[in-house]
């Protein structure tokens, strides 16, 4: 997919909560070995944080870098699987807090971990059509880990936001070359209404879901654009654990130097709808003009968005206008399982 008019990212920003819990601490509680754990540690949102508060901080950082008035934004999309209300948009709270209301589109997107890139895809289309001048696409999640389940080790919290506009109008940070969305009805991970924790089908989430969809999307994208793996300086895949993104990268022909900058899951866990986008933000924090970036997100249910971007000169001016991803990652405070359970409301009240 290529927009009829060129579209660029003109602002980006992220947010990772302060607190962390070590995977070994979780293993200790459930009596599991602390060897071969899927991550080192993951981020833990505090009692006064939620999907909206994280999205607001990420969004504010993105708007700072974009250097625009919030009212110039005509659409706010929050991709999440932890909406603040089941019915009532997270995006209206976010839009209000950022000063974007009232003349704006707003809605919450759900497609498990690829809701953030879905938000980005729609934003590209809206902006290219001229319907809005700028659009704000956010991925934000506080993932829920069922106590004792394998996903509890990785269910993290974080947000990332991107402001998009037609290229050449504002300060272009990175231009969208094209994208491919590859989607099928694949039930690898789901949550029914009224349930607190999701269900997943263990190893079925691997080859038939994660690997299949990402590979298909990325291969088609490279075909369409006439590109090969070595044309990319950076590649960011969805990261449910440390193993999967490295495996899919290798199987597609990418090397460690290409994926290492965007691979943050060992330190913050899987931030679900924010995961690929936080990885992209981390890459933009260091990428040089002219470099090419590939983003391959994955959302259970299932689908993958593969997006190719080229970094522009504008990045140098604004990189330091807001905190970088590593600034958030290095600021951390450890909590034990008891505090983690308190913050994440795992005690039956």
């Amino acid at each position: 997919m290529k927009p009829a008019q060129s579209v660029s990212i003109i602002g980006y920003g992220g947010y990772v909560p302060l607190r962390r819990i070590k995977a070994s601490e979780i293993a200790r509680i459930w009596g599991k070995s602390d060897r071969a754990l899927p991550v080192e540690e993951k981020s833990v949102a505090y009692l006064d944080e939620d999907t909206a508060t994280m999205a607001v901080e990420a969004g504010a950082n993105a708007i700072s870098r974009a250097g625009i008035e919030p009212s110039e934004i005509g659409a706010v999309f929050v991709g999440t699987e932890s909406k603040i209300y089941t019915v009532k948009p997270t995006s209206t709270v976010v839009a209000e807090a950022l000063g974007i209301t009232p003349l704006t589109l707003a809605s919450d997107y759900e497609f498990a971990c690829k809701a953030g890139t879905e938000a980005m895809q729609t934003s590209i289309g809206l902006v290219a059509s001229g319907m809005v001048k700028c659009a704000l696409a956010i991925g934000s999640d506080i993932a829920r880990g069922r106590p004792g389940d394998e996903l509890e080790y990785t269910a993290g919290a974080g947000a990332a936001a991107f402001v998009l506009a037609k290229s050449g109008v504002y300060n272009d940070i990175a231009t969208i070359e094209g994208s491919v969305s590859y989607v099928t009805d694949t039930p690898d991970f789901w949550r029914r209404e009224g349930q607190i924790y999701p269900m997943h089908y263990y190893r079925f989430t691997g080859e038939p879901a994660y690997f299949n969809h990402i590979r298909n999307a990325v291969i088609r994208l490279m075909d369409n654009l006439g590109l090969k793996p070595s044309d990319f300086n950076h590649v960011v895949f969805h990261q449910p654990n440390a193993k999967f993104p490295q495996e899919v990268a290798k199987s597609l022909g990418f090397k460690q130097e290409q994926y290492k900058t965007g691979l943050l899951v060992p330190l913050i866990g899987n931030t679900y709808a924010a995961a690929s986008l936080i990885g992209l933000a981390a890459v933009l924090d260091v990428a040089k003009p002219g470099e090419r970036i590939l983003v391959g997100s994955f959302g259970s249910g299932a689908g993958s968005d593969a997006i190719s971007l080229v970094v522009k000169d504008g990045i140098e001016k604004v990189r330091n206008a807001a905190p970088k991803i590593m600034d958030y990652i290095t600021k951390r405070v450890y909590v034990d399982y008891a505090l983690y359970a308190k913050f994440r409301n795992k005690y039956n009240d």
Partner: protein, 131 residues
């Protein structure tokens, strides 16, 4: 709390907006319609700076039911960078030695929830800048 009451107060809670009296050069947060110094009724909306310095603080242990799970939490007097003093809640203070004079910045956070089925209330808190 009621939905209309929450909704009509949200502007200054979400975005640190104050009332400004240009006759006295005085800012009021929370905002108000009449200047307490000169009686001017034409006060303007102004955005306050997001950063400031902590002047005094206290850790609250005994509080209302709505804040009990959050307790103990910190309340502080903050002098924002434009000289306006405000009183607000602090957050993310774990393992920081709180002292008068530290720099703090505004963040958008949840204040409390009206039980399991009621509304979620948001506002502005402050967190230490340097870590």
């Amino acid at each position: 709390m009621s939905a209309p009451i929450y909704w009509r107060e949200k502007l200054y809670r979400y975005r640190l907006v104050a009332s400004y009296c240009d006759k006295c050069n005085k800012k009021y947060y929370p905002p108000r319609p009449v200047c307490l110094q000169c009686g001017n009724t034409e006060l303007r909306e102004v955005k306050l700076p997001n950063t400031g310095t902590l002047i005094s603080f206290t850790t609250v242990y005994q509080t209302f039911p709505e804040f009990s799970k959050l307790a103990p939490y910190v309340i502080g007097i903050i002098r924002l960078d434009d000289g306006t003093t405000i009183v607000a809640q602090l957050t993310d203070v774990d393992q920081i030695e709180l002292k008068e004079g530290i720099r703090v910045e505004a963040v958008f956070r949840k204040m409390y929830e009206d039980g399991e089925s009621g509304l979620i209330y948001y506002g502005t808190k402050f967190r230490p800048v340097s870590r």
